[in-house]
Amino acid sequence: MKLIFAGILAGLMATTAAKADEMVFTSWGGTTQEAQTKSWAEPFAASSGIKVLQDGPTDYGKLKAMVDAKNVTWDVVDVEMDFAIKAAKDGLLEPIDFAVVPKADLDPRFSNENAVGSFYYSFVLAWNKGAVTGEPASWADMFDTKKFPGKRTFYKWSAPGVIEIALLADGVPADKLYPLDLDRAFKKLDTIKSDIVWWGGGAESQQLIASGEAAFGQLWNGRVFALEKDGADVGVSWNQNLTAADVLVVPKGAKNKEGAMKFLAAATSPTGQAKFAEASGYAPINTKAKAEMPVDVVKGLPDAHIDGQINLDMNYWAEHRDEIATRWYAWQAK
């Protein structure tokens, strides 16, 4: 009996033990992680001999739990940039080893001591052409239920995006968004609250728009790109598109830190970034990547829509994350 128990225990420990030729990459699942697997993990595994295991979806609570318990099973994690800034402050992340990861060509907007860019994206206004008459042209149209009736879908979690959209729709100029006027934003959101359907993940946003369950919504541009590729009848407006970034981080105490840094070098390389952008429609964070991409793909990226583009302020969000989140969830539950 004791022997069996010891055997099971040993087995468990063996599976969690670090292996130099293996690492775990965690991202958000769906079409995005598929593209990351194909563009980064598979070529990296072939050239380095390090097997990349996939896990997901990213879960900030789990990441903190792993670090607190000193049993970190994730080596590289794709997270939102405002979280990365906050997590670094809380001591949850390893510093990036820039001796291994070449820094020169990385867009400085999306990299810092504890994170390198994964990709950057825009929130765009997308709609189901079968469910909407006319073409919504701005965020203000999403708040006009008379002109554009139907359900609208927004990102459910407290994160950069929806607050800014409400303020823009209410007439706040783009350069006066920060510091965010939360009272004004929630008042504006109140006017359409009963028409909002929330999406919690990328796949859900695609399902809502493709089925017409929501007539239009605020989507990640890569998810709209994937819908278009699948032949869904969707329209998209890049007017006032809002950029934000995902970054790659290494949790403090990751078991294969060395492998993780090598992976980051491959993922942020011009080739890795070009391939991923081509597969996902998200923008590369390596300034040399565009040279390796087909012209028509470059035209579809957020970079091609700089007119009226607004950069969401990640540092502001990192600083006010908890305060905004508390109000956000309180408002939602009302």
Binding site: D59, Y60, G61, K62, K64, D90, K151, K156, W157, S158, V197, W198, G200, S211, G212, E213, D322, A325, T326, Y329, A330, Q332, A333, K334
Partner: protein, 286 residues
């Protein structure tokens, strides 16, 4: 192994069976009691020692409303489940055994299907462009889709469906134990079917209703998946709020306190119900 066990019984004076409880006790101790204590500890130490997490929860209108919502949803689900389950259970109790076992099989079968799959199936049925709304609109019965999802209606439908077996099974047991002759006797004495139900069947089946109802209510209190997918944010339940505190706010102290309050309330209700059912049983027996 069996020889050892027999020897154990023969030589020890401990009442037989207690030793057999040991594995279960260790399991519950390690994987339930210890974590609950850790939870309690975290709720009064994170981020600083003191009761500020509890004060924050009970002093904030939002959290109190979510607590209230949770109990309202659990209560509505329990009532609807009883109403739907009772006729089914009664049919099962008086049906020929062969037929009843087929029906039982169907009811149990639903429990073997993955919870997430079943909930997504309801989404497909209930949404604005879903099967039910399309059919009703196609038949000309309604011209605007009914709001069946992202609200209390959606949560109730989805959860009642999942809870039904937990209500039906204890209820059938109770109903089968009732002597059918009591109903015939009531009819012979001139009671209408309604009076017979109200004065004979219902009181006699109360222990089953209470047992099933308690199980459904307590399970509903902590439910996460179904309310998250079929409900809206305005009738958010506690489990979802705790998930936000843990995953998004990373405020584990607050989340622990909320979880602990739910646990205490649930156990208090359980104790209360146990007492009520216990006395009912006694009076029925007498």
């Amino acid at each position: 192994m069996s020889v050892e066990a027999q020897q154990g019984i023969a030589t020890s004076r401990i009442p037989s069976g207690l030793g057999g409880l040991l594995p279960a006790l260790i399991l519950v101790g390690l994987f339930f009691v210890v974590p609950v204590l850790a939870l309690l500890l975290r709720s009064v130490t994170d981020p600083a020692p003191g009761l500020q997490n509890y004060a924050a929860l009970l002093g904030d209108g939002t959290y109190v409303r979510v607590f209230f919502n949770t109990f309202v949803v659990a209560f509505v689900v329990t009532v609807v489940t009883v109403l739907v389950a009772f006729p089914v259970a009664w049919m099962l109790a008086i049906m020929p055994p062969a037929l009843a076992s087929i029906l039982f099989g169907i009811i149990i079968l639903s429990m073997w299907t993955n919870l997430l799959t079943r909930t997504y199936a309801w989404m497909v049925l209930l949404q604005r462009t879903g099967v039910i709304n399309r059919a009703l609109m196609g038949a000309g019965i309604i011209d605007q889709p009914l709001p069946l999802i992202n609200n209390l209606t959606g949560v109730t439908i989805g959860m009642v469906y999942i809870m039904l077996p937990f209500m039906i099974l204890p209820l059938v047991g109770t109903l089968r134990a009732i002597d059918p002759m009591t109903l015939r006797a009531a009819a012979l004495c001139g009671a209408s079917p309604l009076a017979a139900f109200r004065r004979i069947l219902l009181p006699l089946s109360l222990p089953g209703i209470a047992a099933g109802g308690l199980m459904v209510f307590v399970m509903s209190l902590g439910y996460f998946v179904t309310p998250a997918l079929l409900g809206g944010t305005s009738n958010m339940m506690l489990a979802e709020m705790i998930a936000q505190m843990i995953q998004s706010l990373l405020n584990w102290g607050l989340g622990s306190a909320a979880a602990f309050i739910l646990l205490v309330v649930t156990m208090a209700l359980y104790a209360l119900q146990l007492r009520l059912v216990g006395s009912k049983r006694a009076s029925v027996g007498a």
